[in-house]
Amino acid sequence: MKLKLTAALCLVAFAAAAHADTELVIATVNNGHMVTMEKMGKFFEKDNPGIKLKWVTLEEGTLRQRVTTDIATKGGQFDVMTIGMYETPIWGKKGWLAEIKPDAKYDIDDMLPAMRQGLSVNGKLYAAPFYGESSMLMYRSDLVEKAGLKMPANPTWTQIRDIAAKINDPAKGVYGICLRGKPGWGDNMAFLTTLVNSYGGQWFDMKWKPQLTTKPWKDAITFYVDLLKKYGPPGSSANSFNEILALYNEGKCGMWVDATIAASFITDPKQSKVADKVAFAPAPVQVTAKGSNWLWAWALAVPASSTKQEAAEKFIRWATSKDYINLVGREVGWGNVPTGTRKSTYANADFLKAAKFADAEKAAIISANPKDSTLPKSPYVGVQFASIPEFQAIGIATGQQMSAALAGKVSVDKALELSQQAADREMKKAGYYK
């Protein structure tokens, strides 16, 4: 009798274990597209009854710190991580990420080549792009027209300065141009790197020597500081994406060069007072068009330490598929679909009708090439960053100096000199040269 009872209990326990749900812990960053993904998760759970999704939403900086700590210590806290184009090649090379192996249904060839390249190492895809972005010029067409001007099809920075001068009207609370000034490798340095690229500069030469005191850097930063001091809003050294978004939506910026994702916010009448007065143009160039607009993707990856890799990959294939984009289009609206990842999105009539920024965004993303983003040859991959572990520290240190120069606390020459010293110290310490 006892034996029978034990056997029955074991059977029940085994059956329960066999039907136990696989729980996937997904770390995401808090933005509109990710929140939508969380809401759409119920459809994935419905189609995959054995998998339950648990979401951990964090602020970008905290997310980066959390997932880096976890993956470096093989903590195994997350099964799916949201990471960027900067981390993916570095972590992929270290063997910290599981390779994403798409099936035929996934249609990998539909993925925008720039995205696929930026998230691959030696031809292996280590993260699937969830949404991508580049940078472009967003401007108030009404102000430009009123000033009797016409935005060139491919503006140069000199032309942008002239337009900024004409539409700048601080008495009426309108500033010629708004640009990032808040220190951070993902804040002011993302923009400034594209500006320096367009002036013919680069972070490192082929021997990995920092190039921050070269002429292109001096010209670009001097131009930037001068431009914002004359035609930018007060306190620009504290402004990043959200601060400028708030100013732009209030109608206080004549022009803004920033992430293409901004287009969906500033053309939304619920958020913006100038939604019907916005037009787009490519990011300005100067000496060269190379690297003048950045390329970024928030991508989904599976850490090698996850014990649920199969289920995690299944989820990623779903969340980054064409079907998912169609699902969001149907359920939430075509203006809210994650963009910048697939060619088919930009061929979709519903999307093109809903998003007036679609063509400009697609052109910006396609034109960015992270493997060839500087006029002189560079040893690194990345448009607005160099995809090496040391870059974060160098970018932060340089960003602080650039912000100080913008605030007038230090001269441009001194700021670049101090940044060069910091970069040189970091590269020597890492053993790139003696």
Partner: protein, 271 residues
């Protein structure tokens, strides 16, 4: 002259109180605004309030799970802390050695080290002991973080209890346990309550370890707030609503216990 001085003092007190309270007031107001109203320049003081942010937070996040985690970890860490700190403070107050002062200063000095300095070792230890994303793990780390303050506070209280009472108890044949249980605890109950209240508030508001050691299951209300900050897009109104929901229980609690809290914080300040 005296009356003028009184008015000035009262005015100054109100001004300081308003300055301190203003961020909370602004948080409360922003929680009831739309995202566009929340970022408007100049700031809006008069607007039609909306509950949409609270509805959004409630629909996106499991508020009760976070609140339950906050409650369990802060109460448990306070109880565990008292269990360790009370005997330690008793020993240091009544059986002093040459090293007692050094020990107390050393304990306090551990609070001076930034927590991030020990993040990786703690993370690895927690991973090895499977304490990551558990309420037990957070309870332990909260206890450890609060212990120096708890020991110091209780030490200050116990020091004020006349030694003669203890000697009288010993004369009557009280054992160490009796002494602690029947003399120290009843006399030091005010100190114990103040210490417990303060630690409860500190644990409730703790964010660094909560953010770094929890993920899907053990996250506290501090992690709920953090999840509403966004690098791209407007978020202030929703963040304010989440913050208000997170701090509301502890504000109400603090309101009722403010007398004990102030007593605890200022104890020994005028010795």
């Amino acid at each position: 002259m005296d009356k003028t001085l009184l008015w000035v003092r009262t005015g100054a007190a109100w001004l300081v109180a308003l300055l301190i309270f203003f961020p909370i007031l602004w948080l409360g107001m922003t929680a009831f605004k739309t995202e566009l109203q929340a970022i408007s320049v100049p700031p809006k003081f008069f607007f039609t309030p909306t509950l949409e942010n609270f509805i959004e937070v409630q629909s996106r996040s499991d508020y009760l799970l976070y609140a339950k985690n906050s409650l369990i970890t802060s109460v448990a860490s306070t109880l565990l802390g008292l269990l360790i700190a009370a005997p330690a403070a008793y020993s240091m107050a009544f059986f002093q050695t040459r090293r007692t002062k050094d020990l107390l200063v050393w304990m306090l000095s551990t609070k001076m080290m930034p927590a991030v300095g020990v993040l990786i070792p703690v993370y690895v230890v927690y991973q090895q002991f499977q304490l990551l994303d558990t309420r037990l793990g957070l309870t332990i780390i909260f206890t450890m973080s609060n212990l120096p303050i708890m020991v110091w506070m209780l030490y200050s209280y116990f020091k004020d209890i006349p030694r003669e009472i203890l000697e009288a108890a010993r004369m009557d044949g009280a054992t160490l346990y009796d002494e602690f249980r029947h003399v120290i605890l009843p006399l030091g109950i005010g100190g114990l309550a103040s210490t417990a209240l303060l630690c409860l508030v500190l644990s409730w508001n703790e964010s660094f370890w909560s953010l770094n050691l929890s993920s899907a299951k053990a996250g506290t209300l501090a992690t709920l707030i953090a999840s509403y900050s966004s690098p791209e897009g407007l978020f202030w109104a929703k963040l304010s609503a989440a913050s208000l929901m997170a701090i509301a229980p502890i504000i109400v609690f603090g309101w009722f216990c403010q007398k004990q809290l102030v007593q605890g914080l200022t104890f020994g300040a005028v010795k």
